[in-house]
């Protein structure tokens, strides 16, 4: 799997992401600067990592979404190429129009930095094939604006088309207000694009991949992607 990690000023999770991609897929990703206009030839997966691009000025992800490299990312997605956005990356993908909706300020107004439980809603996508549908995974979040909001028509479409990939849940997979850490509509933690080739999620699966550090539940996402491209190739 040939991956490219997009780097904007103010992004700070790109090295965690690159380390995980190398660790799980065995291939070193390319780091692509925001002012570049092309992705490295043969890129399978584009990753927009977490951080605070442009200091979260204006709106989270708003300025990064208009960076020159994003035209290349949009073109990659329109060819059916896979794009993964994590945390600020999810916000950037929403602002760039690759995913619908907006990430608003957390309902309780606090920055949340802790492990959460996610229910994997489906296993038949390149991003989630490393998990079983209904499986609960433990991964960290670190965000102040992760409260997913969209108009009711969009939410109905996302739910009806099975485009919710992950939801905040309890350790047993039950949905309850107390587990919905940021107040997201329908406890949505991650969504897929209409064609299923773009995934955005607030939590950081790339930070739970090594047993020396803690849980390894995030590994399935990257292992699944690696398998997907091994099969394609």
């Amino acid at each position: 799997m040939k991956s490219a990690v997009v780097v904007f000023p103010g992004i700070n999770r790109e090295r965690d992401m690159a380390r995980t991609l190398k660790l799980v897929s065995g291939t070193e990703p390319s780091m692509v600067w925001h002012a570049d206009t092309e992705l490295p030839p043969g890129t399978d997966l584009v990753v927009v990592p977490g951080g605070f691009s442009y200091g979260d000025y204006l709106r989270c992800g708003a300025i990064a979404a208009r960076a020159p490299i994003m035209d290349a990312v949009r073109a990659h997605a329109s060819r059916g190429g896979l794009v993964l956005g994590v945390c600020n990356g999810f916000q950037i993908l929403c602002e760039s129009g690759l995913l619908p909706g907006v990430l608003m300020r957390n309902a309780a107004l606090r920055f949340i930095c802790k492990d959460v439980y996610l229910r994997v809603e489906r296993s038949d996508t390149p991003f989630t094939r490393g998990y079983n549908a209904g499986q609960v995974i433990r991964v960290p979040v670190a965000h102040g604006e992760g409260n997913y909001v969209a108009d009711s028509e969009t939410i109905t479409r996302l739910e009806g088309d099975g485009r919710v990939a992950f939801r905040y849940a309890g350790p047993d997979g039950a949905l309850d207000k107390k587990w919905n850490i940021n107040g997201a509509t329908n406890a949505i933690a991650g969504i897929l694009s209409e064609r299923g080739n773009v995934l955005g999620l607030m939590p950081h699966p790339e930070n739970h991949v090594e047993s020396d550090i803690g849980p390894t539940d995030g590994r399935g996402l990257f292992a699944g992607l690696t398998q997907h491209f091994a099969k394609v190739a």
Binding site: L58, I63, R66, M104, R105, N106, A108, L109, A150
Partner: protein, 80 residues
């Protein structure tokens, strides 16, 4: 020309920051505050003397960057 773009949250979009400010105003005892919605103001200087042209350029700016029209409305005022 001087112009102002005002960006506000659409009706129905929850505004936790506005709610927090509303709570603080109430605790200060400011009389009669029943609701606060927070927005943004951009004061912009644009080259050119044609009002319609400046207004069109700023509408373009608001659509493309200053506002996220999924959740926000905007208003452009050319101040002259």
């Amino acid at each position: 020309m001087k112009a102002r773009v005002t960006v506000t949250l659409k009706t129905g979009i929850l505004d936790p920051q506005g709610k927090a400010i509303e709570g603080a105003l109430k605790s200060l005892g400011i009389a009669g505050v029943s609701s606060v919605r927070q927005g943004k103001v951009f004061d912009i200087e644009v080259d050119g003397a044609d009002r319609a042209h400046v207004e069109a350029a700023l509408k373009d700016a608001a659509d493309k960057l200053l506002a996220n029209t999924v959740i926000e409305n905007y208003r452009v005022e050319v101040l002259g």
